[in-house]
């Protein structure tokens, strides 16, 4: 049957889609939210806030020993020196990977994650299998990420919470002596700052 309205007919909206639309529509009618502000919030997290921020923190720590000291003593303040602060990054702790210690971050209860430095968490970080397994079998988890650590490396797993968020300071890869801070930051992966990746030598 022909319709006189112009929208494209794909599949009908799912129940979840309808619930979200209904909520937004009712709240908007009441003047409690502004749909255009939602566009802006979403765009900010899609384009401006992400792991490139954390990578800059890491590269600076590799190049500037005084900054690294500040980062390991008061991470929140040191990170905000680079302009990264705010929601879900109010209280930060940076844990350093060394020759003998490897750190991994999780939120077993939900999805706590340092938004200002890493953006929004990946799907696997928020999903049940990672949250369940990493505290019990971190080496098994690392294998799923294709990472094998020496037998004698101590693995520390940090369980984030609503107040406190962790960022891993990965080991600087071998063979990067001549690189600038900016070039170094391009080597730092999101997963290395969660602790499920190890940066390969160059």
């Amino acid at each position: 049957m022909p319709h006189d309205h112009p929208h494209a007919h794909n599949k009908p909206l799912s129940d979840v889609e309808l619930r979200v639309k209904a909520l937004e529509s009712v709240l908007s009618d009441k003047g409690l939210i502004d749909p255009e502000a939602i566009d802006l919030i979403v765009e900010t997290y899609e384009t401006k806030i992400g792991p490139r921020n954390g990578a800059r923190v890491v590269a600076k720590a590799w190049c500037d020993p005084a900054y690294k000291d500040r980062l390991l003593t008061d991470a929140t303040a040191a990170i905000s020196e680079l302009g990264f602060s705010g929601v879900q990054g109010e209280d930060m702790v940076v844990v350093e990977n060394t020759e003998t210690v490897h750190n991994i971050v999780v939120c077993t209860l939900c999805s706590c994650y340092p938004w200002p430095t890493l953006g929004l968490p990946p799907v696997w970080y928020r999903a049940a299998p990672y949250r369940a397994k990493v505290v019990k079998d971190p080496r098994g988890v690392l294998e799923e990420f294709g990472v094998t650590l020496p037998e004698d490396t101590e693995i520390r797993v940090w369980d984030s919470n609503a107040e406190l968020r962790y960022l891993v300071l990965p080991k600087r890869p071998a063979g990067t002596d001549g690189l600038t801070e900016e070039q170094l930051s391009e080597l730092v992966t999101r997963d290395a700052m969660i602790g499920t990746d190890v940066l390969a030598a160059r």
Binding site: H7, P12, L13, S14, V16, E17, L18, R19, V20, K21, A22, L23, E24, S25, V26, L27, K30, L32, I33, D34, A37, I38, D39, I41, V42, Y45, E46, G50, V87, V106, T108, L109, C110, S111, G119, L120, P122, V123, W124, R126, A127, A128, P129, Y130, R131, A132, K133, V135, K136, V141, E144, F145, D159, A162, D191, T196
Partner: protein, 103 residues
């Protein structure tokens, strides 16, 4: 409160299937849901602990079967109706209206 969300150490939940690169949001409704959460949080309708507690109050089977942003949706619906910001009837009526428009 302990419950199904307290997953640390649980066996048998399957592989992690890590993906190196993926979009921030998978669907448009996830975008809107995220923006709604931030907007309502900024509007002072709840704090993060209340938000998480409302997720933790989901039925355990429902919790495991639904996606991350569906948890957020359930939490927001629970909190905003409990606090009288919106009513269940308003949401249901609007949902029916939008479904009709979509048909």
């Amino acid at each position: 409160m302990n419950g199904i969300h307290d997953l640390g150490g649980m066996d048998g939940l399957g592989p992690i299937n890590p993906v190196k690169e993926e979009p921030c949001f998978k669907d448009e409704w996830e975008r809107r849901m995220f923006g709604l959460f931030v907007s309502c949080f900024a509007g002072g309708h709840y704090n993060v602990d209340e938000f998480r507690h409302a997720i933790e109050r989901m039925g355990p089977a429902h919790y495991l079967e639904t996606s991350y942003y569906e948890h957020w949706l359930a939490s927001l619906e629970t909190l905003l109706t409990e606090k009288g910001v919106v009513t269940q009837d308003e949401l249901e009526a609007r949902k029916k209206f939008i479904a009709m428009e979509d048909a």
